[in-house]
């Protein structure tokens, strides 16, 4: 199991808790939401299966800036919700195998013609992280994850706007903005997808925006207009928050 980690005392306790019916969980002093959150691994304990150690530092640092903690609302950040775990798990799986990959490739086609890269997403990440880090080294003498928050945000903005010229660094096909776009959409997916995929830990992103998850039955509610729905989310695995 990819999401397993070495057994800690907490994990051991949690394992026995999760085997019990929900009512018993609450009797033990946990709410279902607390149990669901605890069932997800601690990000600091997680060993990436796809990313190398250097790449993982980039992903952690980038996710933290794309969806930061704090702010005026109650919405958590990407690291609090295990978004990097989601990205790592997706890259490790069959992600991208659906893409039609026969050549020839025309990477200079208009953007309206859609995805024309000769790479699957896994390669986009490997190339993108290497070049982004190399740009940071050239400009700041540090890897991306070592930059200040302001410099990280600036580097991400340069990636998004093609201010970092991958072509000048020897990459003929991939634009910085294409790498950024993959990274950003995967980060958002990890934040907002069901926790079954490793992110959205404790369904905290759903709680913050008011999405009830997989409840999927609103016969009475469809007729009640302009009244906030009162219940918290449930997940595909049956956890409630």
């Amino acid at each position: 199991m990819l999401l397993q980690k070495k057994t800690t005392r907490r994990k051991f306790l949690l394992g026995s808790v999760m085997a019990l019916p929900v009512s018993a969980v609450i009797m033990k002093g946990f709410t279902a939401a607390q149990a669901a959150e605890m069932a997800a691994p601690e990000l600091s304990d997680y060993k990436p299966v796809f990313f190398s150690a250097d790449e993982w530092q980039f992903i952690m640092a980038a996710a933290d800036r794309l969806i930061p903690a704090g702010g005026k609302g109650k919405a958590p950040g990407a690291l609090e919700t295990n978004v990097p775990v989601f990205i790592d798990q997706q890259m490790h799986g069959e992600f991208g195998e659906e893409i039609y990959m026969q050549g020839p490739f025309n990477v200079h086609a208009p953007a309206t013609m859609g995805y024309q890269l000769p790479y699957r997403p896994q390669q986009i990440y490997k190339i993108g992280i290497r070049l982004a880090n190399s740009w940071c080294q050239q400009n700041h003498q540090k890897a991306f994850h070592e930059l200040s928050e302001k410099d990280k945000d600036d580097a991400l903005t340069q990636l998004q706007k093609n201010g970092i010229k991958f072509a000048d660094m020897g990459e003929e096909s991939l634009l910085a903005s294409q790498f950024f776009s993959e990274l950003l959409s995967d980060t958002k997916h990890g934040y907002l997808a069901d926790p079954i995929y490793g992110g959205n830990k404790g369904m905290k992103a759903w709680i913050a925006i008011g999405f009830p998850g997989a409840r999927a039955s609103y016969t009475e509610w469809v007729k009640q207009h302009n009244i906030p729905y009162p219940l918290g989310p449930v997940s595909l695995a049956g956890a409630r928050a």
């Binding site: 702010g71 919405a75 086609a109 013609m113 859609g114 913050a208 999927a216 039955s217 207009h225 595909l236």
Partner: protein, 589 residues
């Protein structure tokens, strides 16, 4: 030669979506031995039990029940002088695969075109002075009368359990329905779905402005329904997972719920999945087919002999199979000779997203077809000739999904960082849309053929689309922008954003529009301009029938499924009543 030859059947059906399942059951009920071949896997409803489909990431992002581009890509170019490129990822459209096909994940808006939509060429010739419409436009009439096709709409709507409000019952206009709809022989089988907040707001304002709103006709059934095949469809519970999702509540009519349950019980019907049909094999005189060649799940090349071949795969797959098999002459856009590939059309959408701080839309409490629409801007119902273009749109406020990844954010919201996160928290559940779904005309140089460069996993050429927006469609978009803008202002949101095609727009493959691709093997009265007669029978190879969206000579503003169902049922009836007794061309010219 094929390695494995199967036992001959009366009918081989290629593709088990709506068209294939309807043909299968109708012909099996007539006593024929029917065998269906489906490229994708089996999709029984057991795999869609609650809560499995309640998964936005799997179904809406990763397209879990669509064909993958790796197995079903087409190539696209804007004009005849360009090199087409493959759809490496889906964007503007995403066809289904497997048992149920695109009928498994559809939004279930089940609406008829108007009588004028079906006789668009006749209307254009009567209403437009010569020179107003583009010279390269190639619109045609559907080759049947309203009275001929109406019973088959009714039949298909009973198979689905259509829910909605009747607008025209045998010529009498009914309050609250669509006054522009063609006369119905029977009222809607079931009452309309409930209105969500956005639907009510839209309907109130539209009515006040003099339009004629009516509930979206729906195949997400509003009440328990037992259809003519004896299948039971349960009432919709507004679960919020509809468009792109299989139904977790057995409420959205699909080939599975409406047809396959009964069909699978018939002893003279069988089907094979992961059976990828590569070619229809013709007799030497090219006037009849003798069967199909397919690759089975084990990689064997199989020959399935059959007396009748039904091509009922997705629109562009049907056209491609005809081209690969030599059924009908390929279309040449220079000489305009040939029929297979001509009159391809897609459609456009667009609209306005309205943000209201103080309104809770509860967007997750919805069915795919939830909404209200107006049909006032459809051909013949407004001054198209005075405006210099033909076509129209259904204008609607629907709420097909309310899942978080698809959340709309106001203009100016940052795409990442604290601002994005706060935007999500502030605006999720506080927006509604006013949308357009437009017509799309057919043109001389908008067509389908085989791509010279890109191939599928079997080394066969991909289908190539030559498609871009024409001035007629862009003028229509600009006109609709004004109308939607006026409705938007009347609704008075805190802010709004708009999306309409500018006059210099090119077809954008990156943004999902719909999977209403039509044409390419169209039905008509004239074998020089149509590949199929009105019974969807190939003019050239009389035991090949090709039901599907491929038969539409242009695209109307109504969603295509109702018409695909109706023309398929009409063709099945003609096969039963006439073709079996006297195999040969059903229409003489």
């Amino acid at each position: 030669m094929a390695q494995v030859t199967k036992e001959e059947v009366d009918v081989v059906v290629v593709g088990l979506g709506w068209a294939g399942s309807l043909m299968s059951i109708e012909l099996a009920m007539a006593g024929l031995k029917v065998r269906a071949l489906e490229r994708g896997g089996d999709r029984g409803y057991e795999e869609f039990a609650y809560p499995k489909p309640a998964d936005e990431y799997a179904y809406a992002v990763r397209n879990k029940v669509m064909a993958t581009p790796a197995e079903a890509a087409v190539t696209v170019r804007y004009n005849m002088s360009e090199t087409a490129l493959p759809t490496r990822k889906w964007g503007a459209f995403a066809p289904g695969t497997g048992v149920g096909g695109s009928g498994l994940h559809w939004t279930a808006v089940l609406i008829r075109p108007t009588p004028t939509d079906l006789k668009l060429k006749t209307y254009a010739d009567q209403a437009y002075k010569p020179g107003i419409l583009q010279e390269d436009m190639r619109i045609m009439d559907f080759p049947f009368t309203w009275d001929e096709i109406e019973p088959y709409y009714t039949k298909f709507e009973h198979i689905c359990g259509q829910s909605g409000k009747t607008g025209n019952l045998r010529g009498k206009i009914m309050e609250g329905g669509d006054p522009f709809e063609g006369p119905r022989s029977e009222p809607f089988p079931l009452p309309a779905l409930e209105d969500t907040l956005n639907s009510s707001m839209f309907a109130d304002v539209a009515k006040k402005m003099g339009y004629h709103p009516f509930p979206n006709p729906s195949a997400c059934v509003s009440r328990a329904w037992t259809n003519p095949y004896g299948n039971q469809i349960a009432p919709c519970n507004y679960c919020g997972y509809c468009s792109k999702y299989p139904c977790l509540n057995y409420s959205k009519a699909s080939p599975q719920t409406a047809v396959m349950d009964a069909l699978k019980r018939m002893e003279n019907f069988s089907y094979e999945v992961h059976a990828n049909v590569l070619k229809v094999v013709l007799h030497d005189d090219k006037k009849t087919a003798k069967g199909v060649i397919y690759m089975d799940a084990q990689g064997n090349e199989c020959f399935q002999p059959a007396k009748i071949v039904v091509l009922s795969s997705f629109q562009f797959c049907n056209v491609r199979l005809m081209l690969l098999s030599g059924i009908g002459k390929p279309y040449n856009p220079i000489t305009e000779e040939g029929v297979v590939g001509r009159n391809y059309a897609f459609l456009s959408n667009g609209g306005s997203t309205l943000f209201f701080k103080d309104k809770n839309f509860n967007p997750f409490a919805t069915a795919g077809a939830t909404g209200q629409m107006i049909n006032d801007i459809s051909p013949g119902n407004y001054d198209g000739p005075g405006l210099g273009f033909i076509g129209g749109a259904k204008i609607h406020s629907s709420q097909a999904t309310g899942t978080p990844i698809s959340t709309a954010l106001p203009k100016g919201t940052p795409s990442w960082g604290t601002g994005w996160k706060e935007g999500m928290e502030d605006w999720y559940g506080h927006s509604m849309k006013i949308s357009i779904t437009t017509t799309c005309q057919s043109y001389r140089d908008i067509y389908l053929d085989l791509d010279p460069n890109y191939k599928d996993e079997y080394g066969m050429p991909l289908l190539r689309m030559t498609f871009d927006w024409k001035q007629n469609e862009l003028k229509l978009q600009q006109y609709l922008k004004g109308i939607v803008g006026n409705i938007t202002k009347e609704l008075n949101p805190d802010s709004y954003s708009e999306s309409f095609l500018p006059m210099d727009a090119h077809f954008d493959l990156t943004k999902y529009v719909s999977t209403h691709n039509v044409g390419g093997a169209v039905m008509g009265d004239n074998p020089k301009t149509s590949a199929l007669n009105k019974y969807l029978q190939s003019w050239d190879v009389h035991n090949v029938f090709v039901p599907g969206g491929n038969a539409f000579p242009q695209n109307f503003q109504a969603n295509p499924t109702d018409t695909i169902g109706a023309i398929t049922l009409m063709a099945a009836q003609a096969i039963k009543d006439h073709y079996l007794k006297n195999p040969g061309p059903l229409v003489q010219v």
